[in-house]
């Protein structure tokens, strides 16, 4: 029992021992030297971005005062010091950025850029405020599955899964197709029933089956946000518009005994505005509001007063389909909110010029 204090003290010392093992000698403070500036001759890392990965073995290592010494037992690739100050660290207990996000373009393959050859290339005279956007969309395909919910129809909701396929001709302009499948998801609201029962009126309703459009997309805005002052993500905003077809049919509300509607093909125009948040350089989340505008064919609120035994082409016969539709023009806006994902293919790209 008298030894208890000594054992406790020994236990405390043993627990504290690992702290000593983690301690490192303080490095001499030196100002970081930009890798490119310190490069020798005409070879330099292709990109001095903070995301820069380590080049493959054999690449000319830039001088950097913060570079840790390569461990003696490291293999050839690991032994090559990385170019950027914050991307080093494998030998110092740090972590290579390429081990975290191996899909980064600069991690796909080691590369060297001949600065002399690059300097001879034609350079666009226009200088952009942001020289390298996070995602290059030009000449890439975008596959965008989404789910759309109705925003403006209190009577019937037309929710739908959808798919958009776009090809970006330039960084800001794309052409593509999109389609929505509504059939089976049209949902009449209780609100209609309440109105019919209370006021003895019926509102003509329509179901949708499918729609498809040829669209052009323009991306006028992009930017980035810092989240909680800690991480940064990139986004862009786009507008799109096009023309296509939508198949709809009235729900027989006024005379359901005699009216059996079939689907109608109607020309529609669509316009939208969307917001895309990039998770990485090929995957993003999208949020879009789209208005599908078309001239709807709705059920007539009047019923032919003749007998059903009259000739079928008689306008007095309630079985005559010509009497089922309202003759007026009904411009309809189906405003929907789309939430989905955006996949860019190919998943990697190369910047035309070093940053």
């Amino acid at each position: 029992m008298k030894q208890a204090r000594r054992w406790l003290l020994l236990a405390a010392a043993m627990m504290l021992l690992p702290h000593g093992a983690y301690a490192q000698k303080k490095k001499p403070t030196k100002t970081a030297t930009p890798a490119a500036a310190a490069g020798t001759g005409t070879t330099a890392p292709a990109d001095a971005d903070a995301d820069q990965s380590a080049p493959a073995a054999g690449a000319t290592p830039p001088a950097n005062a913060d570079q840790p010494a390569a461990p003696a037992n490291a293999d050839a690739t690991e032994a090559t010091p990385p170019p950027g100050g914050d991307t080093a660290g494998a030998g110092a207990g740090g972590m290579d950025i390429c081990t975290i996000t191996p899909d980064l373009p600069q991690c796909q393959a080691a590369k060297e850029v001949n600065m002399g050859a690059e300097a001879k290339k034609a350079v666009r005279a226009e200088i952009y405020a942001v020289q390298q956007q996070y995602v290059i969309k030009a000449q890439r395909f975008e596959i965008m599955p989404y789910f759309a919910v109705t925003l403006n129809d209190q009577f019937v909701s037309h929710d739908a899964p959808g798919l958009a396929l776009n090809y970006y001709i330039t960084q800001v302009l794309a052409v593509g197709l999109n389609g929505n499948w509504y059939d089976g998801l049209n949902s009449e609201q209780d609100f209609n029933f309440q109105n019919r029962r209370a006021a003895r009126i019926a509102v003509p309703l329509n179901d949708y089956q499918v729609s498809g459009d040829l669209n052009f997309t323009y991306v006028p805005m992009y930017g980035k946000f810092a989240g909680f002052g800690d991480f940064i993500f990139h986004y862009d905003a786009y507008i799109d518009g096009g023309v296509g077809l939508i198949r709809t049919k009235p729900v027989a509300v006024i005379d359901p005994d005699n009216r059996k509607f079939d689907w109608n093909n109607l020309v529609n125009f669509d316009v939208g505005i969307g917001f895309r948040i990039f998770f990485n350089r090929w995957l993003a989340a999208i949020l879009e509001v789209r208005d599908i505008i078309y001239s709807e064919r709705i059920e007539s609120t009047t019923i032919a007063q003749g007998s059903t035994t009259l000739p079928l082409n008689s306008l007095q016969n309630p079985l005559n389909p010509a009497t089922w539709y309202d003759q007026g023009t009904h411009i309809t806006n189906d405003v929907q909110l789309q939430l989905g994902l955006s996949f860019f293919l190919p998943t990697s790209f190369e910047y035309r010029l070093p940053k």
């Binding site: 406790l8 405390a12 702290h19 913060d66 006021a199 009126i201 006028p220 980035k224």
Partner: protein, 285 residues
């Protein structure tokens, strides 16, 4: 006594050693080295909100209205304790209230007869005709005012480029609080087929309110905001007798009371123009 003291000190030291050892073992963080080691995500950030008072006139437009749409004019007053949190209040009054097309259609088409006498306003015996005065929209509920103390969180702060020419700072925020909503809806009645029973009565609803929005800062002393907001609560928008009897109380009972209210999300979009005091924002390190 001395022995007990030494034992206690040793025990505390041992416990501290164990706890600190556990803490160290769990801290497997990404080791960033080089010039960016320990650096914040953004340097020299303009702190548009921190320590500043925001006075923002607002105009709000209700969305997805069934019988009546409302435009509310008001203002927000916010004080940001930090750049990511602010406390404040939003107040607005309904300045424009107009019937929807559905209200017009009901007024025009709905018959005035004994079957609709409880639900559709009429001029008395013998009920009047379709489209007659008084109009149906006189029985539909109206939003009079909103006062909402709220807390605003600003998790995202950034910038955007428009046409590669115009650059503005922006932030994204979420606000939540309690809304005190002054409304007018058809008053409770038991003899509800008389013209007098269609008169509106004032009341105050207490409801949660929440919204998300963007603020754009073209300059340090003013901003432009766009916000989506919801004020969910139950009220009788149409003035109909919808519930109160039968199985589950889902059938009309010829009375107007709280059972005839329906839960409505009450969505709106708000545009604001914010002005800040002091006029110069702070700059982070």
């Amino acid at each position: 006594m001395k022995r007990r003291f030494v034992s206690a000190v040793l025990a505390v030291l041992a416990m501290a050693a164990i706890l600190t050892a556990w803490g160290r073992a769990d801290a497997q963080e990404l080791q960033v080295t080089g010039p960016l080691k320990g650096a914040p995500a953004v340097r020299q950030l303009r702190l548009y909100r921190e320590g500043r008072l925001e006075i923002a006139p607002t105009i709000s437009f209700t969305l997805l209205d069934e019988y009546r749409r409302t435009i509310l004019a008001g203002a927000q007053l916010n004080y940001a304790i930090k750049d990511w949190i602010a406390i404040g209040v939003w107040g607005a009054a309904g300045v424009v209230s107009s019937p929807t097309d559905l209200s017009d259609q009901i007024n025009k088409v709905a018959p005035r007869d004994p079957l609709t006498a409880v639900n559709v306003i009429h001029s008395g015996t013998p009920y009047g005709n379709n489209g007659s005065v008084p109009n149906f929209d006189q029985q539909t509920a109206q939003m009079q005012y909103v006062i909402a103390p709220q807390i605003t969180f600003i998790p995202f702060r950034g910038k955007l480029a428009i046409f590669n020419k115009v650059f503005v700072d922006a932030d994204f925020y979420a606000a939540g609080g309690v809304g005190f909503v002054g409304i007018k809806e058809r008053g409770n009645c038991t003899a509800c087929s008389t013209p007098q029973s269609f008169q509106l009565a004032s009341s105050t609803k207490v409801a949660p309110t929440f919204g998300v929005g963007f603020k754009f800062y073209p300059a340090g002393w003013w901003s432009l905001g766009v916000e989506y907001r919801a004020l969910p609560f139950s009220w009788n928008l149409s003035g109909f007798d919808s519930r109160g009897s039968g199985p589950g109380g889902n059938f009309p009972d010829q009375k107007i009371d709280s059972q005839d209210e329906s839960f409505v999300f009450n969505q709106m979009v708000t545009i604001s123009l914010g002005f800040y005091l002091p006029t110069e924002p702070k700059i982070s390190e």
